[in-house]
Amino acid sequence: MMRQLILLLIFIIISPLLYAIISRTKAFLVGKKGIPFLFNYYTLIKLFRKNVIYSKTITPIFKVAPIINLSAILLVLMFLPLGNLSPLLSFKGDVLFIFYLLTLGKIFMVLAGVDTGSSFEGMGCAREVFFSALGEIVLFLIFIMFYRLTNQLELSSYFVEGKLILHSKATLIPIIFISIALFVILLLENARVPVDDPLTHLELTMIHEVMILDYSGPDLGIIHLTSQLKMFFYAALISNLLMPVTSVMSIVPIIPVMPVTSGMFSVDVILPFSQLIVFTAILISVYVIVGVVESSMGRYQLKRVPKFVLSSLVLVVLATILTWRG
């Protein structure tokens, strides 16, 4: 249990670093130098040092929303398996709990956006709610399918204990389909291109960014941290799914480290460690792919976004059909 806790803390701490990978990839692909890897930490430190300015029209909801959002995502991360390690917390039916926790955070952010009374923040909220409602359909379909295959309702069971069953029943192609669908949801939920543009300054086109226009100082810092953690959550979900099953894992990456095994380290330590490396590698590549997608395509017109999101639904349905065995 201690190991999981430490590991989770490490990932929480490096999530701003991982987030910088996207910017670096984008910069690299268009021939720019890009931000330093520690840039997001500087931003966070800068923001946490600042004062907060509140508009006169707000209610306390505006003030508590970032905290609630951050707590929700931290709690969600405790349910998240990392690699093939089981999570800190888990109970029957936690899948629903997790996704409603995420929604709870979002609801508060939306309420805070509406709270400012600004018309374009209101528009942003409307867009955010509409699009994430579409995303929810896809996510739930994915978990209905997982449930059908494993008969389990814990998130950890899809990625740790029951993973063998999932992978054997679903085989490679449905898993890839699901990963792509999850990737679309990742782009949607984290306000990335082609759904939203995190770089834009155009308040009329923003979705996610416009809701937080009135935030400043530490509140804004919390919001940035939350979105970095959220990105990590979805990227880790995909990595978990794509992570090879333990039996395969134990053979391949251990070979080069064999001599060490006989020495002071036991297989017990080495095995999760090598798995962790594979997990992190997949995780980083998810971030890199986000960067590649962002630099190779433009943003969709807002009315095209539902089509884009729902096209991932098609993939999930296809995966369900492929795994249908009476």
């Binding site: 268009v30 528009m123 834009t200 300054h201 962002e294 969709y300 017109q301 009315k303």
Partner: protein, 523 residues
């Protein structure tokens, strides 16, 4: 009847027939309705305590443009032209604001640039309509302007644009006595930073004809045609470089608005390269301080020409390359196509000018219609800007964002071709005399006195479109009215109209595709 004049023609006020307002009104209506006349200037001024109205219209015979000028005493109120012809809308609002002439039947008769205390926005009633107010302070570092949308969900029913936040009273500052050309030129260059060259050029051409500078004889008693030609060539070079840098910058900004990173980054860099060429030519990245009446403050050497030419070849290749990336990406075409459409008829009715007009199929281009400056010589040499690529595929002219982007791209290529031709001609001159000196050996221009009771209209094609200055002097030779008209003055209403029935989230894209000047409008 209105008097037919030429651009940059020095006119005595008495030459213009002072007609009764009734004739003035009917004549203009007839011109607009029968000859498709477009408006260049419509302004009020005070002379001997009397309010006057002056109008400058343009008509076209084949591709040759003609200017017509008319003057009348201003009535206290009259049935507005705007009631029937929307192209007068902002001009009449301006006169209403500055000279309190009341226009009946004008739909939006309210202040234009200041006096905003009791300003009422147009609002649509109804349960589903909500208003979105954007600006004047925006989330990005852009100029201030207020946009008021009446929306139904994401759909824009009406957009009203209120500007004037940068009103500096430039036209009034120019009237300060004693009038010195150097001071005025610096002010003129500050009208709109991105159009410094074209404004300075228009001002200089106007002063040259008002003070008759270019006809001046040197010591030997003959006009130095070569010097004048050099002067015009370097000015044209600067003007085209300004056009290039802005068109390329716009293409980059358009791709940035749809989050297409690669062209945004490349075009952004290329814009800088063009500005650096302008720096090489003039010592200032925006070409400020280069053009003065009868003077260019910088000389061109053979190394400059070689350097510019080399860089242009490089950039030409890159522009074609990056544009093919931009215009062949599906999502981008999808974003650009059919958004913010101004069709041919609407463009004519609104009197849209420049890139936006040409994207809608209105072929008006001052460089071709009025042949100002060196464009006249180019026409003589049969090298006019578009003759070479007449058969090449140009923009589809359907007036959407895509058409405006493509028009910019093709015009940028035309400009490069033109600059190359200019450089060739300059090189020939340099072979003869080592260095092109364009600084004319004139006596202090500042000491000259402006002609009395006169009017000059100067017109040029800036990168946004037709830019025109008009100057009126009184019987003491003092300027009593200096009118600057930025092309944006014609085009802002087109942006408002282009947004009808569009998604509100497409507004930044539409706005960028027009890329109009706020400060050029505010003055």
């Amino acid at each position: 009847m209105l008097l037919k004049i030429k651009a940059n023609q020095l006119l005595n006020l008495e030459q213009i027939p002072l007609i009764h307002f009734y004739d003035f009104y009917n004549c203009i209506l007839a011109m607009v309705e029968n000859e498709e006349a477009q408006i260049v200037h419509y302004l009020g001024y005070l002379i001997n305590g009397r309010k006057m109205l002056m109008i400058v219209m343009r008509t076209h015979k084949q591709s040759v443009g003609e200017l017509h000028i008319g003057v009348t005493y201003a009535p206290t109120e009259y049935l507005s032209f705007t009631a029937n012809h929307k192209m007068f809308q902002l001009f009449e609002r301006e006169i209403f604001e500055e000279y309190q002439v009341k226009m009946l039947g004008h739909t939006q008769l309210k202040p234009l640039r200041n006096n905003f205390e009791n300003y009422e926005f147009y609002s649509i009633a109804g349960e589903n309509v909500h208003q979105v107010a954007v600006g004047p302070v925006h989330a990005g570092v852009i100029e201030p302007g207020h946009f008021r949308f009446n929306c139904m969900g994401e759909r824009v029913a009406h957009l009203e644009i209120r500007l004037g936040y940068q009103h500096r009273g430039i036209e009034k500052l120019l009237l300060a006595t004693p009038f010195t050309i150097n001071r005025a030129a610096i002010l003129i260059e500050a009208v709109a930073g991105d159009s410094a060259v074209v404004n300075a050029l228009t001002f200089s051409e106007m002063m040259e004809s008002a003070l008759n500078l270019l006809d001046e004889k040197n010591e030997q008693g003959e006009k130095d045609e070569g010097e004048i030609e050099n002067l015009k060539m370097i000015r044209t070079l600067a003007l085209e470089l300004e056009r290039l840098s802005n068109h390329i910058g716009d293409l980059g900004a358009l791709s940035g608005d749809v989050a297409f990173l690669a062209p945004a980054a490349y075009f952004g860099r290329m814009r800088g390269e063009f500005l650096n060429l302008l720096l090489l030519l003039s010592g200032n990245r925006f070409g400020k301080g280069l053009i003065r009446p009868a003077n260019n403050y910088y000389t061109v050497t053979i190394t400059d020409i070689n350097q510019i030419e080399k860089k242009l070849d490089e950039l030409n290749r890159e522009i074609i390359h990056v544009s093919s990336l931009l215009f062949s990406t599906q999502e981008i075409i999808d974003r650009f196509e059919g958004v913010g459409v101004i069709d041919y008829q609407t463009a004519l009715k609104l009197g849209v000018v420049g890139v936006a007009a040409r994207a809608s199929g209105v072929s008006y281009d001052v460089r071709k219609s009025f042949l100002p400056g060196y464009y006249y010589n180019l026409e003589q040499q049969n090298k006019n800007i578009n003759t070479k690529n007449k058969n090449k595929n140009t923009s589809k002219n359907n007036g959407d964002v895509l058409a405006r982007a493509e028009t910019r791209y093709f015009e940028a290529l035309d400009s490069i071709r033109l600059i190359k031709f200019l450089l060739e001609s300059l090189r020939k001159k340099i072979d003869q005399q080592q260095m092109v000196k364009s600084k004319m050996d004139l006596k202090d221009v500042n000491k000259k006195v402006l002609p009395i009771s006169s009017v000059v209209v100067a017109i040029n094609e800036g990168w946004r479109g037709e830019i025109s200055h008009l100057m009126i002097t009184d019987n003491m030779g003092q300027i009593i009215r200096y009118k600057i008209k930025d092309p944006s003055f014609h085009n802002w209403p087109a942006l408002a109209l282009a947004m009808r029935d569009q998604e509100i989230s497409d507004f930044p894209l539409c706005n960028k595709s027009f890329n109009l000047s706020y400060c050029g409008f505010d003055l």
